[in-house]
């Protein structure tokens, strides 16, 4: 461990690479878990219930799926800055503030993906559950079980989005070394200092992480599709 630490340390100048990796992972895991809980529940509820204005809600959600993260960052910044309505929380320039912003960015993505999968899956599952005599609770459990690969996939997509995001994290976190500096904001800083090779190395590391995540997603997808006998 120590050797690796030294090796990595000698590779990079004083931007706090280790902490940046740690912060990135901590922020991404937390915000993905939070967003998954909220997004999956909302997506399923949106499929399950009909109410006036539902189509608008779905459309708004689709729009939010593509909202520029930096805009969310700005809004969150204005909310949690000292004189903002949520200023009393004191989470500006903290990892918590970053998790809040990230959760707002990822939740619509997970919600939207969950909703579109549920729309495709649920009717058949409900009819099937009915023919099997399942009650309501059993039907809901079955639906989630039948969608589990798709739900993993939505979560992984959210996580991928989270580790690669810069703008919101920069605005809300402030890129404080050893504290709120992430891999992406470190890259931005390295670039401004003209230290390109280190920025590239860090970028490569991010790419490797994204690749691993894609492999995981691919693996899940394959498990679903390859065995099917059409």
């Amino acid at each position: 461990m120590n050797v690796i630490e030294k090796l990595v340390g000698s590779l990079f100048s004083d931007v706090g690479v280790y902490d940046a990796i740690r912060v990135t992972l901590c922020m991404s895991v937390c915000s993905t878990l939070l967003s998954s809980a909220i997004g999956i529940a909302l997506g399923l509820a949106l499929e399950r219930f009909s109410f006036p204005g539902k189509r608008i809600v779905v459309r708004v959600n689709r729009t939010l799926m593509g909202v520029p993260p930096v805009v969310v960052g700005l809004v969150v910044y204005m909310l949690i800055m000292r004189r903002g309505p949520l200023g009393f929380l004191g989470i500006l320039f903290t990892v918590r503030g970053m998790i809040l912003a990230q959760t707002l960015i990822i939740t619509p993505i997970i919600c939207g993906m969950t909703y579109s999968y549920a729309v495709k899956t649920a009717p058949a599952v409900r009819v099937f559950a009915r023919t099997m005599g399942a009650n309501r609770r059993q039907t809901s459990i079955l639906l989630v079980r039948e969608m589990k690969y798709e739900l993993y996939f939505a979560m992984i997509s959210g996580f991928g989005r989270s580790i690669s995001e810069v703008g919101a994290v920069m605005l809300v976190g402030g890129n404080i070394k050893g504290n709120t500096r992430t891999m992406t904001t470190a890259i931005a800083l390295l670039k401004s200092q003209g230290i390109f090779h280190e920025g590239l190395t860090l970028g490569l590391l991010l790419l490797v992480m994204a690749f691993v995540i894609q492999c995981l997603a691919d693996f899940l997808r394959r498990e679903v599709q390859e065995e099917e006998n059409y």
Binding site: R130, M132, G133, K148, E227, E228, N229
Partner: protein, 244 residues
């Protein structure tokens, strides 16, 4: 005398003046009574409303008008195998025992294995259910419907992709069940050969209504409806030429 008459005529499901509109399609059933403990066949061309009527009986669809009486049949006593079987993203075994799990019953391993073996699926218990061949998928969906001993079963075209031997085996199994502990069946098919031998009564569907109900012979030989006669004669020629 009266009491035997009454018990003989007691019904499992009765539809009266039922109407259901789906898009352009209009189902209209004045009176369809399915006597308890009998094997009923629904026949008729594509799009004549057989599946829709079955879904109404299951409670999957609700009628726009009319009444559907289910005598002593709770949601757990009645089941339907679908034209395109829904198989869980899981193993054959998990699919087969799912209705037992729903009822909090523990599957009896030996019984489950015997059931699979009877239809040549014994090696496939651990296989991913959706990788089965289409006939195997239909067998699985059929066995899954039978395993929890429901009192009312709707079999929607489930025999259509099975090989003749398996069809025969299932027919035997159905007759077996009827001998021991009769339940009510609805067997949907557009192939006369599947239902004529098996069914106590046939119901002929055409353009969203039941044109005629009766025993196989009544429908086959005594009906004066030109549409039924046409359907039957085509079926007879087909099954005749298939046998020779």
């Amino acid at each position: 005398m009266r009491t035997t008459e009454e018990t003989r005529q007691s019904f499992a499901i009765r539809m009266r003046n039922v109407e259901k509109r789906i898009g352009e399609f209009q189902l209209k059933i004045e009176d369809l009574t399915l006597e308890e403990g009998r094997i009923h066949g629904f026949i008729g061309g594509n799009g004549s409303g057989k599946t829709t009527a079955a879904k109404l009986m299951m409670g999957i669809l609700s009628p726009d008008a009319g009444t559907i009486e289910r005598k002593d049949l709770g949601p757990r006593d009645i089941t339907m195998t679908s034209q395109r079987p829904y198989l869980l993203h899981d193993t054959v075994y998990a699919n087969l025992v799912y209705p037992l799990r729903v009822r909090g019953r523990k599957p009896e391993e030996s019984q489950v294995r015997a059931l699979l073996a009877r239809f040549g699926l014994e090696d496939k218990a651990k296989q991913y259910a959706r990788s089965l061949s289409s006939g195997e998928q239909q067998k699985l969906s059929m066995l899954r419907a039978l395993i929890f001993e429901p009192r009312f079963l709707i079999i929607d075209e489930t025999l259509s992709n099975m090989d003749p031997e398996s069809v025969e085996q299932f027919e035997e199994m159905i007759l077996d069940i009827q001998k021991k502990n009769p339940v009510t069946w609805v067997i949907i098919s557009h192939r006369l050969s599947h239902v004529y031998r098996l069914c106590d009564r046939l119901h002929f569907f055409s353009r969203g209504s039941v044109l005629a109900s009766g025993t196989g012979d009544e429908i086959l030989f005594k009906s004066s409806e030109p549409e039924i006669r046409r359907f039957m004669s085509k079926e007879m020629i087909r099954s005749g030429s298939a046998e020779s």
